[in-house]
């Protein structure tokens, strides 16, 4: 079962161009995400506690947006908050800035043994390239 979900709540379709965790680029079969839809990916090469860095790049309306978060700048939260074996995480692309230069990203996570996700009360931003 996939343990990473990426949601598109930005209003129009987008493409997930790249998702890199701890230096490993995850294979993406179909990178198109319609509005209100999500796609699922899997990453368990390392335990969630050994997380070091995360890069996401999406394309929306022919503009690329990118975020690069190392462990120190990653979303806040409790146990299971990093992607990896023993965790499940959700990246929620939640809208554009008024000048279209940023896409906001919300986050939720938990143990894969539990149904509910815990929220992070952090927000991160993908910047137009």
């Amino acid at each position: 079962m996939a343990n990473i979900t990426v949601f598109n709540l930005t209003g129009t379709d987008l493409s997930l161009k790249s998702l890199i965790i701890n230096g490993t680029s995850l294979p993406i079969e179909n990178n198109h995400i319609s509005m209100l839809r999500s796609i699922e990916l899997d990453y368990r090469l390392t335990d969630w506690k050994n997380f070091s860095g995360f890069i996401i790049e999406v394309e929306k309306g022919s503009v690329s947006y990118r975020a690069n978060l190392n462990k120190d700048h990653y979303f806040g939260g409790g146990d299971y908050r990093y992607p990896g074996s023993g965790a499940k995480v959700r990246y929620i692309l939640s809208g554009l800035s008024p000048d279209n230069k940023k896409i906001q990203m919300n986050y939720a996570y938990n143990s894969p043994d539990l149904e509910k996700y815990k929220y992070s009360d952090d927000l991160k931003y993908l910047d137009a390239q």
Binding site: F7, I92, K118
Partner: protein, 144 residues
């Protein structure tokens, strides 16, 4: 046309038990809604799904207050936001005629006493949604 979308990314199925905007009750679990567009089927939103309803009783900029209660696993979580405590943002950030609002339920607190809610918004008919950069929380209410 004003529209409201409720999107569930919390992992658990969510039932909308009560929704009142300004003077209009749009969803009320205990009795059939007087609002014609509300159907029973939207009361439950499974994980990763959305329910969309319309609300045109007032213009977005005449917004004064929203009340929302949801049910998860037999527990009820509620929030009551007046205009002063509503989500931040620019024009069209309030529900009503002329705006499109997307509320999403983004997870639970460690002790399951709260559900986080976030918002995106747009001018009705526009494609791109803008983000609000603040969170609101539904608090678990004591069972009656």
């Amino acid at each position: 046309m004003g529209s409201l979308s409720f999107t569930n990314v919390s992992g658990s199925s969510i039932g909308i038990a009560y929704l009142k905007i300004n003077d209009t009750i749009l969803i009320e679990k205990e009795k059939p809604s007087e609002y014609p567009e509300v159907k029973n089927k939207i009361f439950s939103i499974s994980d990763k799904n959305s329910a969309i309803i319309s609300y045109d009783e007032k213009n977005w900029n005449d917004f004064s207050r929203i009340w929302l209660s949801i049910e998860v696993d037999g527990n009820t979580y509620s929030v009551d936001l007046n205009r002063d405590h509503y989500f931040y943002g620019g024009d069209y950030r309030y529900p009503g005629e002329g705006s499109a609002i997307l509320y999403f339920f983004s997870g639970f607190s460690e002790d399951n006493s709260m559900v986080q809610m976030s918002q995106g918004y747009a001018k009705a008919g526009d494609n791109n949604m803008f983000y609000s950069n603040d969170f609101k929380y539904l608090n678990k209410t004591v069972a009656t």
